[in-house]
Amino acid sequence: MSTIIESPRQPQQRASKGRVNWEKYGWIYMRASGVLLIILIFGHLFVNLVQGDGIKAIDFAFVAGKYATPFWQIWDVVMLWLAMIHGSNGMRTIVNDYASNPTVRRILLGALLVAAAVLIVLGTLVVFTFDPCSTLIPADQALSFCPVP
């Protein structure tokens, strides 16, 4: 009840006019991607965990099978991009709300940007360059259709 909330600074000068207003597009993006993500994530969960043999069906071959079809490649990449940007943008608003020190704020926002960018690039790379017959896989675990080295 007696939580002390520090007095805020005086309002600063508003941003100069004429700049693109990203806050509006950020706000719209959160709503739009949220709706799409509900479909994508629950579709993903249903296909992986419920359909067919359910959770027991998941193994390397299952993932390899999914990534052999462009449909699931696109599905997973869209889900990755939407979810990563949605989550990072949400974290960004939390940082903006709570990090009052400008240096701390810049560091946190930079870390968020780097984390999101690395995960998006890495994930996209994995989905499109996935090779079920990679030579890195031990011979006894290789899939049946792969050429024997």
Binding site: S2, I5, P8, R9, R14, A15, E23, K24
Partner: protein, 252 residues
């Protein structure tokens, strides 16, 4: 048809109205003495029909004249005495003692998020600064000989937001406003809404532009603290959502 006459028996002597003692915990701050605000308790004898403002008056008039708070009309119209009572922003003059749990102390403190000046008085300037920024006045180019006509439907469109008394209960209950005071705050948006949706006004696009800012309506997290705090029952969060809609899709 019978009328009351002097012959009727005198009414029985009225039983004294029961009173009770309430402990008021007031968050005091004297900038000349105190480093930090401190809680002070007062025991006050009150009627159930008394309001928190009456309790504060009793303290100021009978116990400690140095207690400082704002009040003007004392009837919920001027919006001077918004304060945080038992952790909720309300008007002291509209909060009846019987509606509070008087078995426990009643905690009264200044509204949050604005610089504390003394006891229950805060510096309202940041609040009014953001109010002024939304240009809360009618802007029309025509100069009619008589009044500007408006249909009942057009008037009803913004009726809810005309009720604002600028008490700052909403803005000082908003967690986004607490964080850094950069956000316009619900009260400024409510007063912008009042003119944006007024058919007689011609500057709504200017106001929408002002509110389509980094610190504008998009910082609203729809926590509904403002709608809950408003002593006039304005649907503040809905008004903010309508301004967001107007920025995205144009006025409707």
């Amino acid at each position: 048809m019978s009328t009351a006459t002097l012959d009727s028996p005198p009414a029985p002597a009225e039983a004294p109205i029961p009173t009770f003692t309430v402990t008021m915990m007031v968050r005091r701050f004297n900038p000349e003495v105190d480093e930090e605000p401190r809680w002070q308790d007062f025991d006050v004898e009150l009627y159930p029909t008394d309001r928190v403002l009456d309790a504060l008056h009793k303290i100021k008039w009978e116990q400690d004249g140095s207690l400082t708070f704002r009040r003007s009309c004392a009837h919920g119209v001027c919006g001077s005495d918004a304060m945080r009572i038992n952790g909720r922003n309300r008007l002291a003059c509209k909060t009846l003692m019987k509606d509070l749990d008087i078995t426990k102390p009643i905690y009264v403190e200044a509204i949050k998020g604005l610089p504390l000046e003394k006891d229950l008085v805060v510096d309202m300037e940041p609040f009014f600064a953001s109010y002024r920024e939304v240009q809360p006045f009618l802007q029309a180019s025509s100069k009619p000989d008589k009044e500007r006509l408006q249909s009942a439907t057009e008037r009803a469109r913004f009726d809810d937001t005309t009720k604002c008394i600028l008490c700052a209960a909403c803005t000082s209950s908003c967690p986004v406003f607490w964080t850094d005071g950069q956000y316009f705050g619900p009260a400024a948006i409510v007063n912008a809404h009042r003119f944006i949706f007024d058919s007689r006004d011609e500057a709504s696009s200017v106001r929408l532009d002002i509110l389509n800012d980094k610190e504008g309506v998009w910082r609203c997290r729809t926590t509904f603290n403002c709608s809950e705090a408003c002593p006039r029952g304005i649907q503040v969060t809905q008004a903010i959502a309508e301004v967001k809609q107007a920025i995205m899709f144009g006025k409707r």
